[in-house]
Structures are given as structure tokens and as C-alpha cells.
Symmetry: C2
Subunit: 359 residues, 2 copies
């Protein structure tokens, strides 16, 4: 276990070499850190801005051992890091942040909602089901329709479907893979919001202004931030963030997706124990963005300020949309962020732009 | 010669692996570029955030050839790049920006001031001398005192000294190395200012607000930006920047050091054909900083906006001053930039901080 706060010149390990890992690495570089990426795919985006790369599976003991020799602390860019990898790194004497508990809860949608409710944070009503029959039975109490999701994995709308009648539950169960599922009552929300927050090694908490998010086909399309909300809504979000972060004894940045109901109440939709696409606006809207904030937290540094200095509209560039880079770069109000991905598959997140206006 | 504008995913070569190369590489990474560094010292700061490193001397033909195979365009972080290296790269079909003319002029203080005066830009009176006797003779017309500097090399106050009497000129000539020198009349300036400006591939020009600079022992200590100046002074600086950039058919960011006289006139002290320490404030005071601006220019992208959104005090962290990183990171108004240098020799530039206030 390294001494904290971690001095500049130290190496921070990151599991995952995608765009989130890349933006974390660039932020770490600004603070004088070296970065070591563990990633199965050679040449992935983050590896090209990192001092060290270990090519290997996330659960490959040799790769983890190589990473542990390079890095003083390790973090990750995605929540599906195997629990065994965190245990292995911890056994090798390397601190992993956010920790095993946050990962375990974020990897299981039933554990996640159970934790949230126990922490005093509201969610939609839900039930767990391990069989087709159990799923059908659960709808008797939950009502219809419900959103059926696999308990584990699935993102951007994958591995989930709406079930309109209890009698359709067994077919839906089969369609999502005949794996343990969660059934969620609908949230009759008026807006999707999110809050990006951070907790430091000493338990201090910093919360960014709320963001308003618009999805298309299950994928984030646009974020407007700071979202226009009442002071009461902002306070509610801060209370939620504090309960979640403290409840998980969390270290690092977390993304919390929220439903805003017509009566002003906020429900938590899901939590992502990492930097989050709905926080990309902070790169140009705040003095310390979510990536530097995460590096500060895992390195045991003081957290930075979170207020916005500009109004931002963040737009994801999906697939060939990124081909418009020259036009976008020519817009005076538009800041361009590209991830260095070679292959613009349809729908793939290739970059994003932040369009700025005065607050 | 690559097609411009250079698409993201291309590789930009940088001669020099110090902090300026590192901050250029981080900016290139944000825009989706890969970077290849040519640098004699393995593990230098920029190499640790770059996709590729070629370890070699700046004039090593093999190293230059290796760089030319990696990079579509090449730029540099310092002005003492050998002219032969630029010729070699150009012969290998790689565009180098800023070009050979800017380098030749910036490497020779006599050529520099001659160019400036011919471009209609005022400097102090000066004379060239290749011998001790010529130096003494020159003082007959220039008067005393004069500042004697070697025509080539020397920076941060090295290779220069004041000569109070013509009779002392031969001894001073010997003391600075018995090399060709320039003799400069004193500038009775009230302030040292600088202007950071950029010129794109199509000849478009973008100028940042003026900065006020404070040196200690010949080394930049603090920059205040935007400097408090009259509209006429700002216009004067813009005209100077335009004359210099157009006169050099320049591509990229340039740093122009200025003397402000009591009557409001600006004299050019020197030009640096690269990103410049007095432009570090733009990293947190502007939406597009000098590093991204330079990458945009050399890649043939549109230039970004240059207005300031905050008032900035930039402070260089020299030697052990960087050991205060934890304290500095805890100041809410302070943005910390560290260069990842291993060895905090006295006076070495280890990082800088930008302290922000609302405009």
C-alpha cells in the first residue's frame, strides 16, 4: 500500500483502455502522474497517451501482477471489473479505488437497488426473479408493465425489455437470456437528470451541478448542464449523492442517474462507480473536470471545486458523426474531444463536443 | 506531404520531450491525435504521454527518418532545432511547422531584430559585432550601457551581460564566449508584456490578450493575464503580432516578448517560434489554450477562440517549490500543472499554477 497523498511522478494504474481511460490518463498527465493501462486490446485509445501498457485480460493473474509492479494505486474505467481482479490486486499490496463493495453493488441491479433503499434513497419498486415462473409471479404484486433487465451486465439498453402483461414474462425472460433478472416498475418521470459527485480518501464530498440528459435508442445523445432545477431539487441531489458515497465508503467519482418525477421527487435509476458520459460537460464547464477530480480522489489529493463557469450542451459523436470534426472545430463556441478510435462503427462513441454559453 | 487538415488518428511529431512537448502532446491527445516525440533523453516528460518515442539527437539522420515514418507533420518545442534537421525532414516529405525561416530568424538575435525592423516593428537600437574590437567600436555609436548577448543560443539570462563603458567591451566579449554578439541599447521600459498569437495554414491570425510578466534572475516568475492595458496598447500588440506572423509566413503559435515604454509604445524584445511560458495562463483562462491552438494550426485545423474567461495569475514552480503540490492542490482557486520531471534541480521549471479570479 502506497503512502498517500500520492506524489506526482507516481504511476496510477487503470483497468480499461477506452475513452474514459484515455481522458483519465490525460488528466493524470496534467498533474504530473504516469499512467499504466491494463487492457486486452493492443493500441486501444488510452494506451496511446499512457507511459505503460499491459496487454492482457482483466482477470489474467500475470497481467495483474505486471500492473501491480508498475502502479501505486489502481482504478478502472468500467464497472464490470471482475471482483477476483480487485482481490488479486489488493493481495499484491495495491490499493484499488473505488473499492470492491462499490463494484459488487454496481454489477448486480438487485444488490444496487437494495443498497440504495437501505441507504434511504428512493428507487422505483422492483423485484428479483431467477426463473420464468418467478418473473411471472412477481408481476402479480408489481403490476404491469415492468421493465425486465438481466441482473448483471447489459448497458446502453442492451439485455432489457418491457413486459406488458404477466403472461408475457416467461417469453421475455427467455429473450433476455434466461438469466436472473430484475423487474422494475415504470418511473413516470418528467426528466432524466444525473449528478456527478466525488468522495476523497478522507471522506470529503464534492458534488457537481445537476445535468439533464437525453437518450436515443438507449444511448446518451445530449447533456445540458447545469440543468435548470430548483434549489430544492439541487439539495435533494446532493443529499442522494452523499448517502450513496458514504454508504459505499466510496473513493473517486461516481455517476448517479436520476428520474425527476412530476412532484419534484428524485429517484435513482442507476449508479456507475466511475467517471460518466453525463459528466463530460465538466471538461469545459468547470475548472476541475470529473477526470481530474477522480485522479485527485484516488491519489488522495484534495478534491477540486465543482461549480460551473459556463453553460454547456454536450453532444456525443456517434459513428460517422465524428467525420464532421473539421466543421465542428470551426465553430467558435464548440470544444471538440475525440477519442482516437480507428474504426467508426455505427453508434460507436467516437468523441463528443461541448458547446458553451455564458452562465 | 500529408493532406490537410490532418484527420484525427494521424500522428504529429514533436522535436523535444520537455514540458512544452508534454503539454502539446496532452492537447493533441484531446483532439484524437497520436504523438511521436524525438528526444535524446529516454523517459523525458513528453515521452510518457506520447504514443511513440524516438530516442536520438535532434540532428541524427536515422532518428529523423524514424520520426518521418511515424508522423504526418512535425513541430518542435524549442527554437534551437538545427536547420539541417528541418531540411532533412522536408526532404523526407514531412511538413515542418513553424518553418525553416522562423527558426533561422529566431536562432540569430541580429537576424531577428533586422527582420523585425524591416517588418515595421520597433525594437531597441542594436549593433552586431564579431570581434572584441568591433564590439568596442559599436559602442561609440550606440552609447553606453549596452546589453551584450551572444547572437546564438543562451536563454533565461544565460550568455549575456551589461557593459557600462566601451572600454569594458572586449572583456565582456571574452566573458560571453568570444563568439559573435549583438549589442542592445537599454529599453527604458515600465513593464514587460508578451503576446501569444497563432497563424493558421490559410494565413488566418488569432491573438490572445496581452500578459504582464515578472522575471527573477532572468527566469519568468509570474504572469498576470489579461494584462491591464489600454485599447490602444492592445491594438498595437495585435498589429505587431500580425506583422511578425505574416512576415515569417508563420504556421503555429508564437510568443512575442514586449517592452512597454512610458509613452505607451511597445518594442519587441524577442520572439519565440513556439508555445511560450508566458502563455501558460491560457490553459485555465481561455477555452482553447496555446497548446491546442498550436496543434490546430500545424494540423491545418481552424484556429480556436482566444478571449479570456477568467483573470489568471500564473506562477512558475521552480525546483523544490513544486514540493508544495499538496498545499497548492488544496487551494480552491488554484489549478496545478506538473511536468512529471524526476529531478527537482534548483531553479528547474517543475510545474506551474494558474490562480483564477473572475474577469
Amino acid at each position: 500500500m502506497s503512502k498517500l497523498p500520492l506524489p506526482p511522478g507516481s504511476t496510477i494504474g487503470i483497468l480499461g483502455g477506452g475513452q474514459l481511460g484515455r481522458m483519465l490518463a490525460l488528466a493524470a498527465g496534467r498533474l504530473g502522474f504516469d499512467v499504466a493501462i491494463l487492457e486486452p486490446e493492443p493500441g486501444a485509445p488510452a494506451t496511446r497517451v499512457a507511459a505503460h501498457t499491459v496487454v492482457g485480460a482483466y482477470d489474467d493473474p500475470q497481467a495483474l501482477e505486471a500492473l501491480s509492479k508498475l502502479a501505486s494505486v489502481v482504478t478502472f474505467e468500467f464497472e464490470n471489473v471482475p471482483a477476483s481482479s480487485v482481490e488479486h490486486l489488493t493481495a499484491l499490496g495495491v490499493a484499488v479505488a473505488p473499492g470492491a463493495r462499490a463494484l459488487a453493488i454496481a454489477q448486480d441491479r438487485v444488490a444496487e437497488k437494495t443498497f440504495l433503499n437501505e441507504a434511504g434513497v428512493a428507487t422505483v419498486a422492483f423485484a428479483a426473479a431467477d426463473t420464468a415462473q418467478a418473473a411471472q409471479d412477481a408481476m402479480a404484486s408489481l403490476g404491469a408493465p415492468v421493465l425486465m433487465k438481466t441482473r448483471r451486465e447489459g448497458y446502453d439498453g442492451k439485455g432489457q425489455r418491457w413486459v406488458e402483461h404477466a403472461a408475457d414474462a416467461p417469453a421475455a425472460f427467455k429473450a433476455v437470456g434466461a438469466k436472473p433478472v430484475i423487474l422494475e416498475a415504470p418511473a413516470n418521470f418528467v426528466r432524466e437528470l444525473s449528478v456527478i459527485a466525488a468522495r476523497g480518501r478522507g471522506g470529503e464530498i464534492a458534488v457537481y451541478p445537476l445535468a439533464e440528459n437525453h437518450h436515443e435508442k438507449g444511448v446518451l445523445r445530449r447533456t445540458y448542464a447545469p440543468a435548470k432545477v430548483t434549489g430544492e431539487t439541487a439539495d435533494q441531489a446532493e443529499r442522494i449523492a452523499a448517502k450513496v458515497l458514504s454508504g459505499l465508503d466510496y473513493v473517486g467519482v461516481i455517476g448517479i442517474e436520476l428520474f425527476e418525477l412530476a412532484d419534484g421527487r428524485l429517484l435513482v435509476n442507476e449508479i456507475a462507480p466511475r467517471v460518466h458520459n453525463t459528466g463530460h460537460w465538466t471538461m469545459d464547464g468547470c475548472e476541475v473536470d470529473q477526470f481530474e477530480q477522480h485522479i485527485r480522489a484516488v491519489a488522495g489529493w484534495p478534491l477540486g471545486p465543482t461549480h460551473a463557469h459556463s453553460q454547456v450542451e454536450m453532444l456525443n459523436l456517434l459513428g460517422e458523426e465524428a467525420d464532421a470534426w473539421a466543421k465542428l472545430a470551426g465553430e467558435p463556441e464548440t470544444r471538440v474531444h475525440l477519442y482516437g478510435k480507428r474504426d467508426a462503427k455505427p453508434g460507436r462513441k467516437m468523441g463528443h463536443v461541448n458547446r458553451l454559453r455564458p452562465l
